[in-house]
Symmetry: C2
């Protein structure tokens, strides 16, 4: 009936997404406090900063200080985001970051024009140059990312063929340069996906390229985030980006206050209650989400912050 | 791969659930305003009041006035809740209500003791008397309801067998009295269900009793509400209770502010975007949810109130 995986791996993106969009200011110390709390929950992959232009993203003006200040817990991979060579140079200069290159595109050329002022052809050139830069610095390139894979505020519904074309484009660039892609990450950047379109697109990508692992980057803009993650798991998807408390918001929704990335603790709850291992201690993670609410100073969209885990509900019965 | 239904029927319970739990006071006029807005969205079944003890539920002290004041829209069934003969008498005296009897039990005798001060044997007696009363008044009895079908804060995890036993119990009472049950409603009263347990329990009930239609009453306490509804639909479930905006809250969660019933507009969005008809105009429904927020004076948990529909997003592209 379904191919639910036995284990799911979560890449925590809450700090990077959240501190980029929150009006703040949030002190470097408190950012570090949240990241240190997250690394104590069992999460093994945490994106902890964004090396971007501080004039455009003032919330990450202190990225270097945050990365330097985070306590490194053995077995946890700490990563960061960059968008150009200058950002990459800062990431390379930072201590103990896991550096991984990724090739990035979207299904929607209109969105690409709005977002990066490129067309598909220009993006191919940029991605080729990025790849050459990664190879020059000895940084592994294992992932491609396809944005707006399920719909786009600028182009509307997105066909399966558009996703396959965008994926093929990036795989070609990797292949030309002798790189093997092991992860294809499909992003519902603007919250258009449904369980049905998740299955349609994941199924088509899997059928065409059986080798790479598929990752899902899901936004919860319209409340289907957890259902979409479940639909992915039903097709065996076992790699998800998510955000503690649902930190991050949505820069693309038409109305203020819409949710952003799917919430990590709700995702962990979904998995653990269905017998899918995540390696994460849910109650510690809920505490980290409560800490995140305290740090940003307003309620976050995650459900377990208020609903609580069943671990605690079960323990209360046994007492 | 799945048995998604082509059409889903929604029973709107937001007014009854919401005005019962909201601290208020909310005027009779505003309650009527919300119900009249809901009946204009295409919803065909709306529970509009609760005939319960006003000392215990002050929010419904004006149930008779609300029911009398609601504008009757042709084709819409207006129903109400009652818990005893006195409540039933009030419902029978009210104009233009659809009166339907239901037999009610729980899987958890401990919860039943807390909730109604009965054990299973006493509940059987009460339900038999209720059924006789319905028959006496010529009120059709077509539904049984099984609470805590997926887990219980007092007893913990609930086995499939407990659900089958509770269902059998009510079916026996109906059969003894010559009634045929056409709807078995399974309630996740305290938000313990996962897509996996929904499939396990719905599958087992369907296998044992292929005839009755299965309804799901889902709570979103821990963020899995929409995923659980989707899992039900994958097994062909096409009948759901839900609550506009997620009105209602959760009286059983351990922490304040946890969500209650699954949100109607998010559920309609899930259906319509997957090509499942609901007969509901989503944008009108979102407006009703925004009206509900205005009436209760605080944000409601529904996602589309903030995220907006894709109908509007698509229209914006075409312009």
């Amino acid at each position: 009936m379904s191919d639910l995986p036995s284990r799911v791996t979560i890449k925590e993106e809450g700090p990077r997404e959240g501190f980029q969009i929150e009006p703040g200011p949030i002190s470097t110390t408190r950012k570090i406090e949240l990241i240190d709390a997250l690394s104590g929950t069992g999460l093994k992959s945490i994106q902890i900063a964004s090396f971007v232009n501080p004039k455009r993203v003032p919330g990450w003006a202190d990225a270097d200080a945050v990365v330097a200040g985070v306590r490194r817990r053995p077995g946890v991979a700490y990563s960061a985001l960059w968008l150009n060579e200058k950002g990459l140079q800062r990431a390379m200069a930072a201590p103990d970051l896991e550096l991984r290159g990724s090739l990035s595109t979207t299904t929607s050329e209109t969105f690409m024009a709005h977002n990066t002022n490129r067309n598909f052809e220009e993006n191919r050139r940029v991605q080729r140059n990025q790849l050459a830069l990664y190879q020059h610095h000895g940084i592994p390139v294992e992932r491609i990312g396809v944005m707006t894979a399920f719909g786009c505020n600028f182009e509307g519904d997105i066909s399966t063929q558009q996703v396959l074309d965008a994926t093929q484009d990036m795989l070609d660039i990797a292949e030309e340069a002798g790189e093997t892609i092991s992860i294809v990450s499909l992003a519902d950047t603007m919250g258009w996906a449904t369980p049905k379109s998740i299955k349609r697109v994941v199924g088509a990508v899997r059928e065409r390229w059986p080798e790479p692992r598929i990752a899902l980057h899901i936004h919860d803009t319209r409340g289907l985030g957890i259902a979409n993650a479940y639909a992915g798991m039903e097709l065996g998807v076992d790699l998800f980006d998510s955000s503690v408390g649902g930190l991050g918001g949505c820069p693309f929704a038409r109305l203020k206050g819409a949710a952003g990335n799917v919430c990590t603790e709700d995702l962990v709850f979904l998995c653990e209650e269905m017998g899918i291992e995540t390696g994460v201690d849910l109650d510690s993670l809920i505490e980290a989400a409560q800490l995140a609410e305290d740090i940003v100073g307003h309620p976050l969209p995650g459900s377990l912050i208020r609903g609580g885990s069943l671990t605690k509900a079960r323990a209360a019965i046994l007492q």
